[in-house]
């Protein structure tokens, strides 16, 4: 559970997390954005199907893997939010993309 420090008045971008639309500050990472929007998980693990949220925020734990703009297994803490971005939970192992 996180919130913005008051009056961090930066620009916002609109994006979708699963089937809902959100407005988040521009320039933050996808991991920060999903935490701000209060999701309960970013993925389910491939081995035991357990839920995870971001852990280290610096790109070494690989727990924040999400499907971003259709591409699976992306580290959400390494990707900056963008207008009209689609963000989805990573369910287990990544699917082989069916188109290039």
């Amino acid at each position: 559970m996180f919130r913005l420090v008051e009056d961090s008045g930066s620009d916002t971008v609109t994006l979708r997390i699963e089937d809902r639309e959100y407005a988040v500050p521009a320039g933050i990472s996808v991991a920060a954005a999903v935490l701000l929007c209060g999701v309960d998980k970013v993925r389910n693990t491939p081995v035991t199907d357990s839920p995870r949220l971001p852990y280290c925020m610096m790109g070494i734990c690989f727990d924040c893997l999400m499907r971003i703009d259709g591409v699976p297994n992306r580290q959400a803490c390494q990707v900056e939010v963008a207008q009209n971005m689609t963000i989805e939970y990573q369910q287990g192992a990544a699917e082989l993309l069916q188109q290039e």
Partner: protein, 461 residues
Amino acid sequence: MKSHYQLLVIGAGPAGLAAAADAARLGIDVALIDEQIAPGGQVYRNVGAAGDRVKDYLGRDYLRGERLVDEFLQSGATYINNAPVWYLDERLETGILLDGASHFISADRLLLATGAQERPMPLPGWQLPGVMTAGAGQILLKSAAMIPSGRLVLAGAGPLLLLIAWQYLRAGVKIEAIIDTAPGSGLFETLPCLARALPALDYLLKGLSFMLAIKKAGIPVYKAIDNLRVEGRESIESVRFNTVRGKSGTEISIETDTLLLHQGVIPNIRLPLAAGCKVEWDAQQQDWKVAKDIWGQSSVDRVLVAGDCAGIVGARAGELQGRLCALESAHQLQKIDLEQRDRVAKGIKRSLQRQLSIRPFLDALYAPAQAYQLPHDETLVCRCEEVNAGQIRQAVRMGCVGPNQVKAFTRCGMGPCQGCLCASTVAALVADETGASMEQVGYFRVRPPFKPITLGELADS
């Protein structure tokens, strides 16, 4: 961007920034490579763009980063951002991923300043949503101006935990409790080190002021605890632990939405190992250090190291080490003579000594607790492949004498993080089960890619 530089610096934290800036001013053709979009590393993350309120909460030390970044940006050094290093080997060709394509850069001298990572702190339930590192909390504050909004508990030991507690208090975050896991040794046992740490008096006073602020805010601080665990089904619901006072203890449970963990930081030695640098085990700090001299020269001819990646020294000392590396590089590359190098270095070395004087005291005060180095059998050690401590102990009992064999049989360390979060725990477990020393046990073999790269990106390189 060229394919060759006289000096290639990897990492835009304080050590890398200072080294690159000074190197450029000394006439070296230098490039600084960093994976992030803006300079600052982790300690000065986003310092160029953070809002005034955030900067206020973070405190004055963060602002030093602003000056350092400006110094670098004005120095004339080449800056290559958004460029993670995916490949490095003993031939010292550095492979970066830039705009979806791989490029190789060679250099007369390579300076590794890749910083530190949090020491993993495995405990039952640490993989549940809502559990993060203290460093993660800091990154959210620095780069996204975000603070915890629900209930918050901090657990662990180390200056960073104090720091973030103080920063959060300034930002109006309500902290339910601080669970102090530092083993036994209080201020009293560490007094001998304290005397030697007095040259860094300002640092000590700062720490004291943090502790006072926490006390003043009335935050419950629990010391001398054990059996710390996280409870919850789909996410964290509470932390539970036992207080150990005299003969009796009490079990305490604290409901919370967020738990931030911290057990100090450890050097990120992956690139130094990839380059073939010799490392040494530091029994006091319980981590591996890169062998180097005062100038940052490693055991490998053309490779220098500076900052936390060689051994934990902190931001200020890292910056000074970076400056010494720049001087040494300039001398090795024949831009300055020995006399000039030594003359300019004098003041830097004095300041560095002062900064380093706090370390033994901090190491003694905040030694990592055994419970998180040798977790219970059911605790996850490898978060990626979900291997627990019991499985690792079992593998050792079946004859695995080292971490690489343990990995082969349990898959621990085979996931995408490639051992970042489990390497230290696996080695500690093997040492404990076999009675061998950490030097004998060794560490996971490091292999590329050191940052993610796709097959297509590699194929097109």
